[in-house]
């Protein structure tokens, strides 16, 4: 029995598809455009078109559609909650009433709009992490943020921090698993009692975890120093990012489609 199942957090699905091969910068910018487009949507019906786009994208990237939908699982509760709030608290033409609770026509529209918007935001954003490895992603971000270095923004350091933290998530899960076992062996009871007791029961797990994290951080810093790591200046790459023609086409296509959707939506 594994006490902690590894969380599927922005899981990368390796495949050789046109979407996977795109430059990470192109994908990051495309996602920004897509998300902006989703925010501009007004009519719930318009999301049918976005759903279609999602299907096409899944097809192109050779990521199983089931996996794409799984990405939205963590926010299902949030979507339902948001939709519910809008459904019951929007004033307007009353459709249905029961005591103090009423549902209005505007409420239904708002609930659908907000719920779908949130849902599609997560799904499209998920595409980025599904088709881009964490390494590529941080390389892409670093490259995009490099112009801001002039104003003192530590682009390289941010990217390095991101890579390291992503790299250590699975390691820390393993460590937590080991600590849990060691404490369970000494009779720790993590499953019974009220919320407060259960939180308190986690102290013997959290303290060693923090100690280990700091220890690891120091070890890593030492190992990096030993190999003369100096930060970003003058550092070359093994796989330099390369903006290809296909990237230009892809981003132009995305902008075109999103603009088309938005215009269609504005006209009603």
């Amino acid at each position: 029995m594994k006490f902690l199942n590894h969380l599927t957090l922005g899981q990368y699905v390796p495949a050789d598809s046109p979407v996977h091969r795109l430059d990470p910068r192109c994908k990051i910018l495309s996602v920004v455009v897509l998300l902006a487009g989703i925010f501009l949507m007004v009519h719930p019906v318009a999301f049918l078109a976005w759903g279609g786009l999602l299907l096409v994208l899944a097809r192109f990237s050779r990521v199983p559609f089931r996996v794409v939908l799984q990405g939205a699982r963590p926010v299902v509760m949030l979507v339902i909650f948001t939709a519910g709030i809008h459904l019951f608290l929007t004033k307007g033409v009353v459709l249905w009433e029961w005591g103090p609770v009423s549902v209005t026509r505007e409420g239904v529209t708002m609930a659908l709009r907000m719920g779908l918007r949130l849902f599609f935001l997560v799904l499209f954003a998920g595409f980025l992490t599904l088709t881009t490895s964490p390494m590529e992603l941080s390389d892409g971000l670093e490259s995009l943020f490099r112009p801001f270095q002039r104003f003192g923004f530590p682009a390289h350091e941010m990217a390095m921090m991101m890579t390291i933290s992503l790299r250590f998530i699975p390691t820390l899960f393993d460590e937590t698993d080991r600590i849990l076992r060691a404490q369970l062996a000494r009779g720790a009871d993590l499953e019974h009692g009220g919320l407060f007791r259960r939180l308190k029961a986690f102290i013997p797990v959290l303290v060693p975890l923090f100690v280990i994290v700091f220890q690891r951080a120091e070890d890593l810093a030492l190992a990096m120093e030993a190999r003369c790591y100096q930060g970003g200046s003058g550092r070359t790459r093994m796989n330099p990012l390369e903006w290809k023609k296909s990237d230009t086409f892809a981003i132009a296509g995305v902008i075109g489609i999103v603009a088309f959707f938005v215009l269609l939506d504005l006209k009603g």
Binding site: M1, K2, E175, R178, I179, R181, A182, Q183, L184, A185, R186, G187, A188, D189, I203, P204, V205, L206, V207, P208, V211, I212, Q215
Partner: protein
């Protein structure tokens, strides 16, 4: 009164592409007052077996019984099994958490609802047994030296008065003096009636200390018996995954040159015999 393991199998990540058979059909009997060594290479399933003995892992098939209670019994029995079978993991960093040694020691007994005065008495006894001074009681466990931390971990399990003690590589990272000291303490505990399961990759240690040895290879038990019979076995034909300790290799070479010296891990005895052989 014993731990019985019967045709135990364990499969990790069952039903996924990562599925691995960690243990297949292992039998083992551990009596109180007996030192059993589990020997094998990394990945042979030693640690998996160790965690089955106190119900941290449950069998995929087969069973483990502690004093006739199967580890698959209900939650109340499970807690009792975990008290009876103390398990000490290899790395102290994975368990030391309290602000003082006193609190660290009280963690286990409090979980099992020992009365406070008994916890205190038991703490003194366990610390004393492992050669940790009472002055350490108010120190932070994190300030202790590596060897002290290791001994504190063992003490913090012994304080709950287990009937069996399972140790995963207890001597790894200890210097020779500390190692011998720890082995001496364990020997004493066995004589007092504790059942010890010693998981190690060090065959020489197992041959010199254990009453019985289980050799695991890729999750299968390839040998189970006394150190003497394992030695005979090793000399006749190689047991998979094990090679002779250097001293025995040396004896074997000497015998092939015609010296009649006994197979022993006692270097002094060997030197005496060798001297007699050369003189005569």
């Amino acid at each position: 009164m014993s731990i019985r393991v019967d045709s135990l199998c364990h499969v990790y990540h069952s039903g996924t592409p990562l599925e691995t058979q960690a243990l297949s059909g292992v039998d083992l009997l551990v009596e109180r007052g007996e030192w059993v060594a589990v020997v094998g290479q990394t990945g042979s399933g030693k640690s998996t077996l160790a965690q089955h003995l106190n119900a941290l892992l449950l069998p995929s098939s087969g069973w483990v019984k502690v004093d006739n209670i199967p580890t698959t019994a209900g939650a109340a029995e499970l807690r009792e099994i975990r008290r009876k079978v103390g398990l000490v993991f290899q790395y102290p960093e994975h368990q030391l958490f309290a602000e003082s040694v006193r609190e660290e020691m009280a963690f286990g007994p409090r979980n099992w609802k020992f009365p406070e005065e008994e916890i205190e008495r038991s703490t003194w006894k366990a610390l004393d047994l492992l050669g940790l001074s009472q002055d350490l009681l108010d120190r932070s466990p994190l300030q202790l030296s590596g060897g002290q931390k290791r001994r504190l971990c063992i003490a913090s399990v012994l304080v709950s008065k287990p009937d069996y003690l399972v140790l995963d590589e207890p001597t790894a990272g200890l210097d020779a003096n500390r190692r011998n000291e720890l082995l001496r303490i364990l020997k004493k505990l066995v004589e007092e009636g504790l059942g010890v399961v010693h998981v190690t990759h060090d065959l020489e240690l197992a041959l010199t200390m254990a009453d019985r040895i289980l050799v695991l290879e890729k999750g299968k038990a390839v040998f189970c018996g006394t150190p003497e019979s394992l030695l005979d076995e090793l000399l006749e034909r190689p047991v998979r995954g094990l090679c002779l300790p250097p001293l025995l290799e040396f004896v074997s070479r000497l015998r092939s040159y015609g010296y009649s010296v006994p197979y022993t891990l006692d270097s002094e005895l060997l030197a005496d015999c060798l001297e007699r052989e050369i003189r005569s």
